[in-house]
């Protein structure tokens, strides 16, 4: 059992990373689905930035996000004030549970029975769908990928493309089983059927729930980036719209979204822009003929204000949720999104989720990286992901003499055999004479070297000690 006291019984044990990763690696279909998708996304991103001064653009993206974070409390208040003036009700939630309760109360006040949802990763963080169902409120995902994942009773395996782990045949079978469509590999046919099913749901939903990509403080504007139009439907057709978002999503200026949008869509899917960039600044006015009568914004903290305290960890909050880090991650490509067992998978998940589930629960997350740096290289807001992974590894062993650990659940590795080994290693390598003696002895008795070295020799031959170390050869040379 997890230590968290979350309402949901659907909690996945984050600690079980290895068995899930192993299962994915040995599943050829999963491997192929991810490899193909990630190869395509990497190629598209590359061509989308052709002709751009990408370094300067990424610097701008990073600066915009840092400027926003530097003034975060003021901006949140400004956003609240502007939205209130515009007729939007603003709510604050300390964690996912409180955010769920706020949504429930809005639904109850409207006697709402059905909710239609646009894509929102924060609502996944909240496990909102399960919560609402437990309250007797139907919550239906309308983003095609999310819809598929919901029908399969799974969670998204990618933050932008939730159903990327499935191929067409698998999806066709699922839609056939759950909604009665014909078995077909014709994507247009499958899509058209989903359109039909969901249109009715949009029409009859009592409440629409969406996420937010950027919240602009100066005008009180909630921006949504999407291709399908389900986001527009969700925020326009039902009489009540509830937007949920993390407190870090605010930016000061409307101007800021131009650069962030340019970075977001190109980094995510290699598009120069998405079909819809939807800017919502208020509910339907008295003389307007459509749009929701009520709009709410739920600002969710859920650990973010704690991350905010530390100068280094703070960079985590720059994220604009493009998913480029996972698209370029060699580990994510091999194990897929579900192996992580977390809301956010891949590199961003590895640096964000330990704060949400605790480092004791999520101790494998920061270690599941070769620190190859591909994620940091493509991040549109220059989050130093590899450095943050190292920082979290440091937190897991309880910091050092200069930096006491502070992340929730830190120090899980204190006093382990591993910690003892590193102490011994350090002791020897800080003593050159001892090091030379040890390595020279190793060379002399290299025939005795064990042929099996744990996980290493499961896949590779053992490295072979040379007959003489470089130290010895240089010594001989100088004589």
């Amino acid at each position: 059992m997890s230590e968290t006291t979350h309402h949901s019984a659907h909690h996945i044990d984050v600690k079980e990373f290895h068995p899930r990763a192993r299962a994915a690696i040995h599943n050829p279909q999963i491997r192929q689905n991810f490899r193909k998708a990630m190869d395509g996304l990497m190629t598209k991103r590359k061509s989308a930035f052709e002709g751009w001064d990408l370094e300067t653009l990424r610097d701008l993206g990073a600066n915009i996000r840092m400027r926003a974070l530097a003034n975060l409390p003021d901006l949140l208040e400004q956003l609240e004030q502007k939205l209130t003036e515009n007729g939007v009700t603003v709510h604050w939630a300390a964690d996912g549970d409180e955010a769920c309760e706020i949504v429930r109360d809005i639904c109850l006040a409207r006697d709402a029975k059905s909710v239609i949802k646009g894509k929102s990763m924060v609502s996944e963080e909240m496990e909102l769908n399960h919560y609402l169902e437990d309250q007797g409120i139907e919550a239906l995902e309308s983003d095609l990928g999310e819809y598929i994942v919901q029908l399969a009773e799974e969670t998204p395996s990618h933050i932008i493309m939730p159903a990327i782990h499935k191929n067409t045949t698998e999806i066709s079978q699922l839609l056939h089983d759950k909604t009665g469509t014909d078995l077909s590999n014709d994507v247009e046919y499958l899509t058209a059927n989903a359109r039909l099913q969901l249109r009715e749901k949009f029409r009859n939903a009592d409440v629409g729930i969406s996420g937010v990509n950027f919240a602009v403080a100066e005008t009180g504007t909630l921006c949504l980036v999407e291709n399908e139009g389900n986001g527009r439907m969700t925020t326009t057709v039902p009489p009540c719209h509830i937007a949920v978002t993390g407190i870090e999503k605010v930016v000061p200026k409307l101007e800021d979204v131009t650069a962030l949008l340019a970075l977001l869509t190109r980094s995510a899917t290699g598009q120069h822009i998405t079909t819809y960039f939807n800017m919502i600044s208020g509910p339907r006015k008295a003389d307007e003929l459509d749009g929701p009568e009520e709009v709410h914004l739920v600002l969710v903290d859920n650990g973010r204000s704690t991350i905010y305290q530390d100068d280094e960890l703070l960079d985590t909050l720059r994220c604009i949720r493009c998913g480029a880090c996972m698209n370029h991650c060699p580990v994510y490509t091999r194990v897929g999104g579900h192996a992580y067992g977390t809301t956010y998978p891949g590199p961003i998940g590895k640096i964000l989720m330990p704060h949400m589930v605790g480092l004791d629960e999520g101790r494998h997350l920061p270690t599941a990286s070769s620190l190859c740096g591909a994620c940091g290289e493509v991040c549109p807001v220059k989050i130093p992901i590899p450095d943050l992974l190292v920082r979290l590894r440091q937190e897991a062993v309880d910091g050092d003499k200069l930096h006491p650990a502070k992340v929730r659940g830190h120090g899980a590795k204190r006093g382990t055999v591993e910690a003892m080994i590193w102490k011994g290693w350090s002791w020897m390598h800080a003593r050159p004479g001892l090091y030379r003696l040890g390595t020279a002895l190793g060379a002399r008795f290299r025939k005795l070297q064990p042929g099996k070295l744990g996980g290493w020799t499961q896949y590779r031959t053992a490295p072979k000690l040379a007959a003489k170390t470089l130290h010895e050869r240089m010594k001989e040379r100088s004589q």
Partner: protein
């Protein structure tokens, strides 16, 4: 990550050679090759005897007190202001990029930052400081190259290896697909997450084999040990070598013997 602007020094008369622990124990030939290439360029190579390890394995594992103790033992090895050359992007990256952070707020912060500024990856140094000209004396061959992630992304030297190989007239360099993808080594990652690392290296070896090349070269011994070790265990038709050994063997004229 990568320096926006790299300012190369003028070609010096002397350099310090920081061999790294993997070269010391497993690939001393690569170290010798690097030293001899530098000497052939007219540079005197100083090999500080008390060098051990840069501290990276403990650092990336999160054991920073332990890493600092080992790294501190290296700080006294380079008293003169000569460049420090390292036959590895990974250890070079540790010393150049991470020493300043590791020693921040300690009595050694100035020294660590000063040393970090003198660290050069050896192939980068050969090309951009020595302006080396290579004469190929070897038989025609086809090779692929794997640039380590740290050489590529931390040290920013991805173009250097192909430039050196391009000088060898009998060497046909072929590029594997997804050349920039990690081989799966990642230090302790390979033993902590053997299945994931294994899946990564198996695909890396497949892409190398698919180029048609029967040998590959690399800038880092970690990758070499990983890729060649996988190929050997699984009887894949490709063998590997450190790029420095390869360069020395093809240009030395004595079939690669080391003095």
């Amino acid at each position: 990550m990568v320096d926006p602007i790299k300012v190369y020094p003028a070609k010096p008369s002397k350099v310090y050679f920081y061999g790294t622990c993997l070269v010391d124990m497993f690939y001393p030939d690569a170290g010798m090759a690097g030293i001899q290439l530098l000497e052939r360029e007219g540079i005197e190579v100083i090999y500080p005897e008390d060098q051990t390890c840069c501290g990276q394995p403990a650092y990336t594992s999160g054991y920073h007190d332990e890493a600092r103790a080992v790294a501190r033992a290296q700080l006294g090895l380079f008293p003169e202001d000569w460049p420090i050359v390292v036959p590895s992007g990974s250890c070079g990256g540790m010393m150049r990029k991470h020493y300043p952070a590791l020693f921040k707020d300690t009595a050694d912060d100035v020294k660590a930052a000063e040393i970090a500024g003198r660290i050069w990856e050896l192939t980068d140094f050969l090309v951009n400081v020595c302006h080396i000209k290579l004469e190929d004396l070897g038989e025609p061959t086809t090779v692929a190259m794997h640039t380590s992630c740290s050489a590529r992304r931390e040290m920013g030297v991805a173009e250097v290896g192909p430039k050196l190989l391009g000088q060898l007239k009998n060497v046909n360099l072929v590029e594997q697909v997804r050349a920039e993808e990690c081989c799966g080594f990642g230090g302790t990652f390979a033993v902590r997450h053997p299945e994931i690392s294994g899946a990564m290296v198996s695909e890396k070896v497949d892409t190398l084999v698919n180029t048609g090349a029967r040998e590959f070269v690399t800038t880092d011994c970690g990758c070499l040990m990983n890729i060649a070790g996988y190929a050997e265990k699984n009887q894949k038709p490709v063998t590997g070598q450190h790029i420095l050994s390869f360069l020395w063997e093809r240009t030395n004229g004595d079939g690669g013997k080391h003095s």
